[in-house]
Symmetry: C2
Amino acid sequence: MNEKIGILALGHGSKLPYNKDVVTGVAGLIAKKYRNVVVRTGFMNMNNPTMKEGLDAFKGTGVTTIVAVPIFLAHGVHTTEDIPQILGVSREDRKTTIKLDGRDVTLVYSEPLGVDELVAELAFKRAQEALSSN
Amino acid sequence: MNEKIGILALGHGSKLPYNKDVVTGVAGLIAKKYRNVVVRTGFMNMNNPTMKEGLDAFKGTGVTTIVAVPIFLAHGVHTTEDIPQILGVSREDRKTTIKLDGRDVTLVYSEPLGVDELVAELAFKRAQEALSSN
Protein backbone atom coordinates (compact mmCIF):
# COMPACT_ATOMS: atom_id res chain seq x y z
CA MET A 1 0.00 0.00 0.00
CA ASN A 2 1.34 3.43 -0.86
CA GLU A 3 1.94 5.84 1.98
CA LYS A 4 -0.28 8.88 1.88
CA ILE A 5 0.57 11.57 4.41
CA GLY A 6 -1.83 13.90 6.18
CA ILE A 7 -0.79 16.96 8.15
CA LEU A 8 -3.04 18.20 10.94
CA ALA A 9 -2.07 21.80 11.65
CA LEU A 10 -2.85 22.29 15.34
CA GLY A 11 -3.79 25.74 16.58
CA HIS A 12 -4.07 27.13 20.08
CA GLY A 13 -7.41 28.83 19.39
CA SER A 14 -8.47 32.27 20.59
CA LYS A 15 -11.50 34.45 21.13
CA LEU A 16 -9.89 36.91 18.73
CA PRO A 17 -9.72 35.93 15.04
CA TYR A 18 -5.92 36.22 14.62
CA ASN A 19 -4.76 32.81 15.81
CA LYS A 20 -7.27 30.93 13.69
CA ASP A 21 -6.48 33.14 10.69
CA VAL A 22 -2.76 32.40 10.99
CA VAL A 23 -3.13 28.65 11.53
CA THR A 24 -5.66 28.36 8.69
CA GLY A 25 -3.51 30.52 6.44
CA VAL A 26 -0.38 28.49 7.15
CA ALA A 27 -2.31 25.25 6.57
CA GLY A 28 -3.43 26.64 3.20
CA LEU A 29 0.16 27.46 2.25
CA ILE A 30 1.34 23.96 3.24
CA ALA A 31 -1.40 22.42 1.06
CA LYS A 32 -0.47 24.68 -1.86
CA LYS A 33 3.26 24.05 -1.57
CA TYR A 34 3.19 20.28 -0.89
CA ARG A 35 0.40 19.03 -3.10
CA ASN A 36 0.80 15.32 -2.34
CA VAL A 37 -0.06 15.96 1.32
CA VAL A 38 -3.60 16.22 2.71
CA VAL A 39 -3.83 19.15 5.14
CA ARG A 40 -6.47 19.78 7.79
CA THR A 41 -6.67 22.06 10.83
CA GLY A 42 -7.72 21.48 14.44
CA PHE A 43 -7.85 23.83 17.40
CA MET A 44 -7.13 23.06 21.03
CA ASN A 45 -9.82 25.40 22.33
CA MET A 46 -12.17 28.25 21.45
CA ASN A 47 -12.23 27.59 17.70
CA ASN A 48 -13.56 25.01 15.29
CA PRO A 49 -12.72 22.52 13.96
CA THR A 50 -11.59 20.94 17.22
CA MET A 51 -8.61 18.60 17.09
CA LYS A 52 -10.93 15.58 17.00
CA GLU A 53 -13.00 17.14 14.22
CA GLY A 54 -9.74 17.84 12.40
CA LEU A 55 -8.79 14.15 12.59
CA ASP A 56 -12.26 13.13 11.41
CA ALA A 57 -11.83 15.44 8.43
CA PHE A 58 -9.24 13.00 7.04
CA LYS A 59 -12.02 10.46 6.47
CA GLY A 60 -12.30 9.53 2.82
CA THR A 61 -8.86 10.93 1.96
CA GLY A 62 -7.02 7.60 2.14
CA VAL A 63 -4.22 8.92 4.33
CA THR A 64 -2.11 6.18 5.90
CA THR A 65 -0.21 8.41 8.34
CA ILE A 66 -1.20 11.72 9.91
CA VAL A 67 1.38 14.05 11.44
CA ALA A 68 -0.09 16.47 13.96
CA VAL A 69 2.10 19.60 13.81
CA PRO A 70 1.58 22.18 16.55
CA ILE A 71 1.60 25.59 14.86
CA PHE A 72 3.04 26.98 18.07
CA LEU A 73 6.29 28.86 18.33
CA ALA A 74 7.52 27.10 21.46
CA HIS A 75 6.68 24.21 23.72
CA GLY A 76 4.60 24.98 26.78
CA VAL A 77 2.04 23.23 28.91
CA HIS A 78 -0.31 22.95 25.92
CA THR A 79 2.16 21.15 23.67
CA THR A 80 3.70 18.99 26.40
CA GLU A 81 0.56 18.05 28.32
CA ASP A 82 -2.82 19.08 26.86
CA ILE A 83 -2.34 18.21 23.19
CA PRO A 84 -0.63 14.82 23.75
CA GLN A 85 -3.52 13.92 26.07
CA ILE A 86 -6.15 14.89 23.47
CA LEU A 87 -4.28 13.00 20.73
CA GLY A 88 -3.71 9.99 22.97
CA VAL A 89 0.07 9.95 22.50
CA SER A 90 2.64 9.70 25.25
CA ARG A 91 5.46 12.20 25.59
CA GLU A 92 7.98 9.42 25.05
CA ASP A 93 6.48 7.62 22.10
CA ARG A 94 4.66 10.49 20.37
CA LYS A 95 2.82 7.98 18.20
CA THR A 96 -0.45 6.08 18.26
CA THR A 97 -2.87 4.35 15.93
CA ILE A 98 -6.36 5.64 15.19
CA LYS A 99 -9.22 4.22 13.14
CA LEU A 100 -10.38 6.10 10.05
CA ASP A 101 -12.84 4.59 7.56
CA GLY A 102 -12.35 1.27 9.41
CA ARG A 103 -8.60 1.27 8.73
CA ASP A 104 -5.63 1.72 11.06
CA VAL A 105 -3.94 5.07 10.54
CA THR A 106 -0.69 6.03 12.27
CA LEU A 107 -0.85 9.33 14.13
CA VAL A 108 2.49 11.00 14.87
CA TYR A 109 2.95 14.15 16.95
CA SER A 110 5.71 16.54 15.84
CA GLU A 111 7.70 19.28 17.51
CA PRO A 112 6.46 22.88 17.37
CA LEU A 113 8.20 25.44 15.13
CA GLY A 114 10.99 26.25 17.60
CA VAL A 115 14.37 27.80 16.91
CA ASP A 116 15.11 27.80 13.21
CA GLU A 117 16.80 29.93 10.55
CA LEU A 118 13.39 30.24 8.89
CA VAL A 119 11.96 32.03 11.94
CA ALA A 120 15.02 34.30 12.11
CA GLU A 121 14.61 35.11 8.42
CA LEU A 122 10.90 35.86 8.85
CA ALA A 123 11.47 38.07 11.91
CA PHE A 124 14.07 40.04 9.95
CA LYS A 125 11.62 40.40 7.06
CA ARG A 126 8.96 41.80 9.44
CA ALA A 127 11.55 44.27 10.77
CA GLN A 128 12.39 45.40 7.23
CA GLU A 129 8.71 45.82 6.36
CA ALA A 130 8.18 47.97 9.45
CA LEU A 131 11.19 50.13 8.55
CA SER A 132 10.10 50.63 4.97
CA SER A 133 6.55 51.60 5.96
CA ASN A 134 7.80 54.20 8.41
CA MET B 1 24.81 60.19 10.27
CA ASN B 2 24.75 56.59 9.18
CA GLU B 3 21.71 54.55 10.07
CA LYS B 4 22.42 51.72 12.46
CA ILE B 5 19.55 49.33 13.05
CA GLY B 6 18.71 47.49 16.25
CA ILE B 7 16.21 44.65 16.50
CA LEU B 8 14.49 44.01 19.82
CA ALA B 9 13.13 40.47 19.70
CA LEU B 10 10.05 40.55 21.93
CA GLY B 11 8.99 37.41 23.75
CA HIS B 12 5.82 36.54 25.59
CA GLY B 13 7.65 35.07 28.58
CA SER B 14 6.68 31.95 30.47
CA LYS B 15 7.23 30.14 33.75
CA LEU B 16 8.53 27.24 31.67
CA PRO B 17 11.91 27.67 29.93
CA TYR B 18 10.70 26.99 26.36
CA ASN B 19 9.46 30.42 25.30
CA LYS B 20 12.58 32.21 26.48
CA ASP B 21 14.79 29.55 24.89
CA VAL B 22 13.07 29.98 21.51
CA VAL B 23 13.06 33.80 21.55
CA THR B 24 16.68 33.90 22.69
CA GLY B 25 17.67 31.26 20.14
CA VAL B 26 15.93 33.09 17.29
CA ALA B 27 17.53 36.39 18.37
CA GLY B 28 20.92 34.66 18.25
CA LEU B 29 20.24 33.39 14.73
CA ILE B 30 19.18 36.88 13.56
CA ALA B 31 22.41 38.34 14.98
CA LYS B 32 24.47 35.62 13.29
CA LYS B 33 22.75 35.96 9.92
CA TYR B 34 22.50 39.76 9.74
CA ARG B 35 25.76 40.95 11.24
CA ASN B 36 25.24 44.68 10.67
CA VAL B 37 22.21 44.63 12.99
CA VAL B 38 22.37 44.88 16.80
CA VAL B 39 20.01 42.34 18.36
CA ARG B 40 18.62 42.31 21.88
CA THR B 41 15.72 40.51 23.58
CA GLY B 42 12.93 41.67 25.88
CA PHE B 43 10.08 39.76 27.50
CA MET B 44 6.55 40.97 28.19
CA ASN B 45 6.27 39.07 31.45
CA MET B 46 7.77 36.36 33.64
CA ASN B 47 11.27 36.49 32.10
CA ASN B 48 14.23 38.82 32.02
CA PRO B 49 15.32 41.03 30.39
CA THR B 50 12.04 42.92 30.44
CA MET B 51 11.15 44.94 27.35
CA LYS B 52 12.45 48.12 29.01
CA GLU B 53 15.68 46.38 30.01
CA GLY B 54 15.94 45.15 26.42
CA LEU B 55 15.71 48.73 25.13
CA ASP B 56 18.29 49.89 27.67
CA ALA B 57 20.61 47.16 26.43
CA PHE B 58 21.04 49.15 23.19
CA LYS B 59 22.93 51.83 25.14
CA GLY B 60 26.43 52.26 23.83
CA THR B 61 25.67 50.44 20.56
CA GLY B 62 25.07 53.58 18.51
CA VAL B 63 21.81 52.34 17.00
CA THR B 64 19.75 55.10 15.34
CA THR B 65 16.56 53.06 14.88
CA ILE B 66 15.25 50.09 16.86
CA VAL B 67 12.61 47.79 15.44
CA ALA B 68 10.69 45.86 18.09
CA VAL B 69 9.66 42.57 16.48
CA PRO B 70 7.14 40.44 18.37
CA ILE B 71 8.36 36.84 18.16
CA PHE B 72 4.74 35.79 18.31
CA LEU B 73 3.00 33.68 15.72
CA ALA B 74 -0.19 35.74 15.59
CA HIS B 75 -1.63 38.96 16.86
CA GLY B 76 -3.63 38.82 20.07
CA VAL B 77 -4.35 41.06 23.00
CA HIS B 78 -0.65 41.13 23.91
CA THR B 79 0.54 42.38 20.51
CA THR B 80 -2.37 44.76 19.90
CA GLU B 81 -2.75 46.22 23.40
CA ASP B 82 -0.14 45.31 26.03
CA ILE B 83 3.09 45.62 24.03
CA PRO B 84 2.18 48.89 22.23
CA GLN B 85 1.34 50.34 25.65
CA ILE B 86 4.69 49.28 27.14
CA LEU B 87 6.58 50.59 24.09
CA GLY B 88 4.57 53.81 24.05
CA VAL B 89 3.46 53.46 20.43
CA SER B 90 -0.07 53.87 19.15
CA ARG B 91 -1.76 51.18 17.07
CA GLU B 92 -2.06 53.62 14.18
CA ASP B 93 1.41 55.14 14.13
CA ARG B 94 3.47 52.22 15.50
CA LYS B 95 6.42 54.57 15.98
CA THR B 96 7.89 56.74 18.70
CA THR B 97 11.15 58.35 19.74
CA ILE B 98 13.12 57.27 22.80
CA LYS B 99 16.27 58.64 24.40
CA LEU B 100 19.39 56.46 24.49
CA ASP B 101 22.79 57.84 25.52
CA GLY B 102 21.21 61.30 25.36
CA ARG B 103 20.28 60.89 21.68
CA ASP B 104 16.92 60.51 19.98
CA VAL B 105 16.40 56.99 18.69
CA THR B 106 13.42 56.00 16.55
CA LEU B 107 11.49 53.00 17.87
CA VAL B 108 9.30 51.16 15.36
CA TYR B 109 6.95 48.30 16.19
CA SER B 110 6.61 45.54 13.57
CA GLU B 111 4.03 42.90 12.80
CA PRO B 112 4.34 39.43 14.37
CA LEU B 113 5.43 36.43 12.25
CA GLY B 114 1.98 35.73 10.81
CA VAL B 115 1.08 33.80 7.68
CA ASP B 116 4.13 33.24 5.52
CA GLU B 117 5.66 30.62 3.24
CA LEU B 118 8.55 30.39 5.72
CA VAL B 119 6.20 29.17 8.47
CA ALA B 120 4.60 26.68 6.08
CA GLU B 121 8.04 25.41 5.11
CA LEU B 122 9.11 25.05 8.74
CA ALA B 123 5.89 23.26 9.74
CA PHE B 124 6.43 20.81 6.88
CA LYS B 125 10.03 20.27 8.00
CA ARG B 126 8.83 19.47 11.55
CA ALA B 127 6.35 16.97 10.06
CA GLN B 128 9.12 15.30 8.05
CA GLU B 129 11.39 15.10 11.10
CA ALA B 130 8.60 13.45 13.12
CA LEU B 131 8.00 10.93 10.33
CA SER B 132 11.65 10.04 9.97
CA SER B 133 12.13 9.52 13.70
CA ASN B 134 9.16 7.14 13.89
